[in-house]
Structures are given as structure tokens and as C-alpha cells.
């Protein structure tokens, strides 16, 4: 059995923590039934994540112990039925399948049923009991049932379903004692002599009989939820609150994370300086400082945003507000072939596409996830801003005006709008392309009552996301940074050679400019000149584009190096003086209006971000989609830049 292409460290055990020797239980239940809260309460930090073989569905397996007996617990994806219509649900059906070649069946099942939605939840129980595996029922939200004036005779219910039934409220640790004892004795669980029917026309009769025997009183509509929804889903007030909430959401990710990111950048900058001071060899120092530390720092600086994003998303999901937000935005998202929940992912991408792409996990449909992931990089992320600021500053002066407003501001706003529209269009195209792989997933979304999120679950979700990001994406970002460092800094030149070439070895900007001009990257830049010539880019801009493959904002610093600017962080002055070195425009300024506009548009579309590629690889499960994204975005960027250059050339 292979899982996630990892090798088994211990015979019989795999990376996710499954072990043939230990009893393995699996949690089954519908979404919003408190299943994952229960999983977290039992396993906590002793949970590992991996992947199910062959699909990009995350696998959560944890350990817990009762009376010195260690047990394995797997949190299966939430599903409404074993008649699966999505890859996540298919996983559940496969795990419970007697004959599945790659997945071992669990020893017993723990079925979580929301006591407030029993009439629907029992449908799932009927299907699960039909598998023949020993099972027990955990009734969740029984406190809510009572609060909403519902009731259930649990003893009669237990007799009626024929398996052990336990009630829990909120998964508090104290309550877990009886549950853990029950789980320990899994091999002694009674199995119903006759499983319930599974035919869709017979199940409602079984459900009705069980509920009547158990004196089930349906809980009344949750008053608190009704009152809150009267505002939050009001056509006018609801939309106002929604946009305010999204604004806050976005600001938190953007602004709250910034200071922390700043500290992390300062920390790595400090470390870099220390390295440069203390390491004798200039090239080794540069490699360690710019290559390694730069790469690691680049990875770590994403963590504050990712952590914040997942805190907010977990709270939104667990409290129930996520479905309200998705409900309000669904019509708009449907125009792009997506659904309401994609809005949150796209919105997050305005701060940075990395957390935005990770946020697509909230979408149940794989096709929606891919389509959103393909569109997310087009949202104007914060890394584009330094590039935009530099180029727009070269394009128009700060005092230029269009009507009453500043021209610079107008152009920036236009870039944001074009980015958003392109993102929607791209998602629409990929959604349509994906349609050929299967019928459209019917849209349905449960609107659960508002519930207090558990701090523990939120914390674990954040921890999980950050850990996964560091492990998987970190490698890719670090690798790319190192590779680019090599390209930009090699071959090395001795002081003697540089002096002979007329470079003042004590002028660091002259040295770095010389290094970059003769680097491997410059060679590549010259080699690809034919591709970029129609856009008006010369080899120096090409080097900048190559360097910005690691992260867009490095374009600014790289151009500064190329221009041998006195202040590499504000290269504008130096760039203005660059002239074309050969060809039909020889001697003319390099950065003319058409070239600047084309460059802006190029950065709007091109996937100049190794981190995004890394996250796409992780979230989509293979290199196929990042490769497609990079490829199609490059082509679109080239074409749009070309058109822009033509049009602006005609207008000026």
C-alpha cells in the first residue's frame, strides 16, 4: 500500500500513521455534524496528514490511547451519502468498500449524527450499517437539541438502530471518558441482526419508524440563528454587513500580517548581514545570505498571512457564516462558472495568491477548485505592487491628471479591475473545460445554525495548514531561490579581472552590476531576446523577468542592480537613463511608454512566482496544473503585452 509516495519508516506503519497492528477506527458523518471536532478532541496534535492514494483528498489519521491500549482513528471526509458525487465522498465509499485494492478497511466505524437533523442524518446511518462493519453512533449537539425544545429517547433509539449510542455535547474533554471506554470495547459492539434498507424508497420508512419509536421531537427553528440571519441575509443589510466583513477580512490579511512579515524580513535581513560580516568568502557569504537565508526567509514570511487566513476561514466555517457569505455571492460567482465559496478564495488572493489557493479547500467540487486555482494568480496580489509602483512612476509623473483624479491612481485602479475580471474569465474558461470530465456538480449548501467555533479546532486547522505549507511548498521556494541565485551570481569574477575591465571593486553597486551583466542569467536573457523583442524588452528586462520568477518584487531590486543604480531600492532614476544597445531603436531610451505599458500588462498576467507554482502543485496534487497555469499565463501575458505595446505605440 502506498500513500503519498512516501516510504514506510517502520514495517507495517506508513507516514500517515496507520498501523496494521493497532485497532483502527474511522469517523464517518455528514459535514457540520461535529465529526472533526470529535476527532480533534480525541487525537489533538497526535494527528498526521497525508493523501489518499491517487487523489488529492487529504487524509487525517490520529492516535489516542485508552487504558494503555493505543488506537488509530481516521477522520474520513464528511459526506451526505455513500452514493458519491465528488472525489472526497468517493474516498469514503472506497474506504468502506470490502474489495478496494489499495485501501484497508477500518476495524470499526464511529458514526456522528447531528441530533438536531436526525431525519436527514439517519439516511447516512442506514448506508453505513449496510456495509456490515461494526459501528457505534455518537449523537452530537444534544445540548442544542434540548435548547431548541427537541427531545429524543436515547435508550429507545439505541434499541431501534441496534448499535451502541452515546451522546456528546461540544466534544469537551471531560465527556470523552465514556466514549473512549466505548471505543476500547469496539470488538464487542452489537451489530444489527438485519441492516436497515438502502433503497431510496425504503429508507424513509425505516427512518420514520426509528424516529417514532424514539419519541423524537423535532427541535424548533433556532431562534438565535433566525434573528441573526434576518440581518445577515437581509437583501440590503446583509449585503452591507457582508461587504464590511469581507473588507475587514481582507484588511486583516493585508494589514495585520504586514508588521509581522516586516519583523520576519528584518530578522532574516539581520541574519543575512551577520552572515556577510562573519563569512570570509564573498561568494559563500552571498550564497548563504541571499540564496539560503533569502529562500528560507521567503518561505517563512508567508506564514503570518497563511496563519491569519486560516484563523479567519476556520472561524467563518465553524461558526456557520461561511455558508451565508457563499449564499450571497453565489449568483455572481456562478457567472464565472464557480460557486459562492470561491469568493473567499479569490478575495484572499488580493493579498497573496498563496493563501488564496489554499483557501480553495473549502470548495467541495474538484473542478471548481482547479478553476479557482487557475484564476487566483490573476488577482492583483501585493507582490505586484512594488513592480506597478516602479513602472507607473516611470510611465506618468505624479502630477499628471485624468480629469479631477491623479493619473497614477487611475492606472493602478484599472490594473486591479483588469486583474479581477481576468481572474473571473480564466476561472470561467477552466470551469467549462473541466465540464467535459463529468457532469456539473449540483449546487447545494447546508446552512447550519450559528455555533461557537472551538478554539482548539481553529488552532489545529491553522497548525495543519502552516505545517503542510512549510513542508511541501517550502522546498520548492527554497529550491527556486537557490537556482536563481546561481544563475544571477555566477560565473564569479576575481578582483583583478574586474579591475582590468574597468570596474571599481570598492563600489558594490558597480560590482554587482558587472556580475549580473556577465552572469548566466544575462546569457539566458540575451538568448531569449528574440522572444521578447516584439514587446520591446531587451536582455536587461529579460534578466529582471527571469529573476522575478522567484517572486515578483525581486524585479525591482534586479533592475536596480542592472542599472547599477546608486540606490538599488529606488532604481527609477537609473532606469530612466538606460538606452537601447542595439537594433533599430539603438540609442533611444529603453523604457518608453509602450514598453512600460507592455511590461505592466506582462506582470499583470504572467505567473512570476515560484511560491504560487509550489502551492498549485500541493493543492492540485501534481505538476500538471502548475505547468498549465504557467504556460497559459505566459502566452496570455505575451499576447496582451504585445497588443498593449502596439496600441500605446499608436496612441503616443
Amino acid at each position: 500500500m502506498t500513500l503519498d509516495a512516501g516510504h514506510c519508516a517502520v514495517p507495517g506503519e506508513d507516514r500517515v500513521g496507520l498501523d496494521e497492528q493497532l485497532p483502527t477506527l474511522a469517523l464517518v458523518g455528514s459535514p457540520n455534524s461535529g465529526k472533526t471536532t470529535l476527532f480533534n478532541a480525541l487525537t489533538g496534535l497526535r494527528a498526521k496528514t497525508g493523501n489518499y492514494p491517487g487523489v488529492t483528498v487529504t487524509r487525517y489519521v490520529g492516535r489516542f490511547s485508552v487504558d494503555d491500549q493505543e488506537m488509530v482513528l481516521e477522520d474520513l471526509p464528511g459526506t451526505y451519502s455513500l452514493a458519491a458525487i465528488s472525489p472526497d465522498e468517493q474516498v469514503v465509499a472506497d474506504v468502506l468498500d470490502l474489495d478496494h485494492p489499495a485501501l484497508a478497511r477500518p476495524d470499526a466505524l464511529v458514526v456522528t449524527l447531528d441530533a438536531t437533523t436526525l431525519r436527514r442524518s439517519l439516511n447516512m446511518l442506514a448506508q453505513v450499517l449496510a456495509t456490515g462493519l461494526p459501528a457505534c453512533v455518537v449523537l452530537t449537539f444534544t445540548d442544542e437539541l434540548t435548547r431548541r425544545q427537541g427531545s429524543l429517547d436515547v435508550a429507545a433509539f439505541e434499541r431501534a438502530v441496534g448499535v451502541p449510542v452515546l451522546t456528546v455535547t461540544g466534544g469537551r474533554r471531560q465527556e470523552l471518558g465514556p466514549l473512549r471506554d466505548l471505543l476500547l470495547g469496539w470488538s464487542a459492539w452489537p451489530v444489527p441482526a438485519l441492516p436497515p434498507p438502502t433503497e431510496p424508497d425504503e429508507v424513509p420508512g425505516w427512518i420514520e419508524s426509528v424516529l417514532t419509536t424514539s419519541d423524537y421531537v423535532l427541535p424548533k427553528v433556532d431562534e438565535r440563528t433566525r434573528r441573526i440571519d434576518a440581518v445577515l441575509l437581509h437583501p440590503v443589510w446583509g449585503s452591507v454587513v457582508f461587504f464590511a466583513a469581507m473588507f475587514v477580512f481582507f484588511q486583516v490579511i493585508f494589514t495585520l500580517a504586514s508588521p509581522v512579515q516586516g519583523w520576519l524580513e528584518d530578522l532574516f535581513g539581520f541574519l543575512g548581514t551577520q552572515v556577510r560580516v562573519h563569512v570570509g568568502n564573498r561568494y559563500l557569504a552571498s550564497f548563504l545570505a541571499d540564496g539560503i537565508l533569502g529562500g528560507v526567509g521567503g518561505v517563512v514570511t508567508f506564514l503570518p498571512q497563511i496563519a491569519l487566513l486560516f484563523v479567519l476561514i476556520s472561524i467563518m466555517e465553524a461558526s456557520g457564516y461561511m455558508s451565508r457569505a457563499a449564499f450571497l455571492m453565489d449568483r455572481v460567482m456562478a457567472k464565472a462558472g464557480l460557486e459562492g465559496r470561491a469568493f473567499v478564495a479569490l478575495l484572499s488572493s488580493l493579498a497573496c495568491a498563496i493563501p488564496g489557493i489554499m483557501a480553495t479547500r473549502t470548495l467541495p467540487s474538484m473542478r471548481d477548485r482547479i478553476a479557482t486555482m487557475m484564476g487566483a494568480p490573476l488577482m492583483t496580489c501585493s507582490a505586484r505592487l512594488p513592480v506597478y509602483v516602479l513602472l507607473v512612476g516611470l510611465l506618468v509623473s505624479p502630477s499628471a491628471r485624468i480629469g479631477p483624479v491623479g493619473a497614477q491612481g487611475v492606472i493602478m485602479f484599472a490594473l486591479y479591475v483588469v486583474g479581477a475580471l481576468s481572474a473571473m474569465a480564466s476561472a470561467w474558461v477552466f470551469s467549462r473545460l473541466g465540464r467535459r470530465s463529468g457532469p456539473l456538480l449540483p449546487f447545494y449548501m447546508e446552512m447550519p445554525p450559528y455555533r461557537m467555533p472551538s478554539a482548539r479546532s481553529v488552532g489545529l486547522a491553522v497548525w495543519d495548514a502552516c505545517r503542510g505549507f512549510l513542508r511541501k511548498v517550502g522546498k520548492i521556494i527554497l529550491g527556486t531561490t537557490v537556482v536563481l541565485w546561481v544563475l544571477l551570481n555566477l560565473p564569479t569574477h576575481s578582483d583583478a579581472a574586474m579591475s582590468a575591465a574597468g570596474v571599481d571593486v570598492h563600489d558594490s553597486s558597480a560590482v554587482s552590476s558587472y556580475t549580473i551583466d556577465h552572469s548566466v542569467a544575462a546569457g539566458i536573457g540575451r538568448a531569449v531576446e528574440p522572444i521578447f523583442e516584439p514587446l520591446g524588452f531587451d536582455w536587461r528586462i529579460n534578466v529582471g523577468i527571469l529573476a522575478s520568477l522567484s517572486a515578483r518584487e525581486t524585479f525591482v531590486a534586479t533592475m536596480g542592480q542592472v542599472a547599477a543604480a546608486a540606490h538599488p531600492d529606488q532604481p527609477a532614476q537609473g532606469l530612466k537613463h538606460l538606452t537601447v544597445q542595439s537594433g533599430s531603436r539603438e540609442g533611444e531610451p529603453l523604457f518608453t511608454a509602450p514598453v512600460l505599458a507592455a511590461l505592466l500588462v506582462f506582470f499583470l498576467y504572467a505567473l512570476q512566482c515560484a511560491s504560487t507554482i509550489g502551492v498549485l502543485r500541493r493543492e492540485s496534487g501534481s505538476w500538471k496544473w502548475p505547468a498549465i497555469a504557467f504556460g497559459y499565463l505566459f502566452v496570455v501575458a505575451w499576447v496582451m503585452a504585445f497588443l498593449t505595446q502596439l496600441v500605446v505605440g499608436m496612441l503616443t
Partner: protein, 107 residues
């Protein structure tokens, strides 16, 4: 055989009055898509010509013949719509709601 054949097979059969695989001709019937907020109805049948899997999902969600459904609210742009069924609330797009034929409840 495996659970899949036991559970999934019914999706592909003609199951009788509860689920109809082919759409029936209901010229005068109302569907969930035609309701106004607060209206309560009883489900007659769930049918979808194009997508039997989707119809099966609706029945797994509680939209079975005889079930009581109440329309709760619409989104600001008329789609999707929230219904109350089997003791919980669920949002459906009108395209899917159209597959559920209902009859008004006499309260």
C-alpha cells in the same frame, strides 16, 4: 460484492414511484423553484432527466416523497434559495430546485 454495488446500484435502477429516472410530463405541477418565502409544501417526486446522480443526492439530502419543505428565503439576486427540510436548512440553486415537484400543504 462491495458496498458500492449495494448502495450505488439503486441510483441506476428505475426505483418506482419514489424516484423517477426520466423526467415526467408535469405541465401544471409546481416545483420548489416556484415558491414564495414562507410557503410550505409536500414533496411529490424528485426527477432529473440529465443527472440521476443529482436527483439521488437531493433525496439523500431529505427531499423524499412525502417530506415537508418550507421555503425560507431567496438570495438578493433571486438565486440560490434556502429551504427548510428534514429539520435543517439548505440552499439550492433554482436550476436544481426545479427538479422537485411539490404540492401545497393545507395547514
Amino acid at each position: 460484492m462491495s458496498i458500492l454495488s449495494a448502495v450505488v446500484a439503486p441510483r441506476r435502477r428505475a426505483i418506482g414511484p419514489a424516484l423517477v429516472e426520466t423526467g415526467s410530463d408535469r405541465a401544471e405541477g409546481i416545483t420548489l423553484a416556484d415558491l414564495t418565502p414562507g410557503q410550505a409544501v409536500r414533496v411529490l417526486e424528485v426527477s432529473s432527466q440529465d443527472d440521476p446522480a443529482a436527483a439521488r443526492r437531493l433525496s439523500d439530502l431529505g427531499f423524499v416523497p412525502g417530506a415537508e419543505v418550507r421555503m425560507v428565503r431567496r438570495a438578493p439576486l433571486a438565486d440560490p434559495v434556502v429551504f427548510r427540510v428534514a429539520g435543517y436548512e439548505i440552499a439550492l440553486r433554482r436550476a436544481q430546485a426545479r427538479w422537485v415537484s411539490v404540492v401545497a400543504l393545507v395547514s
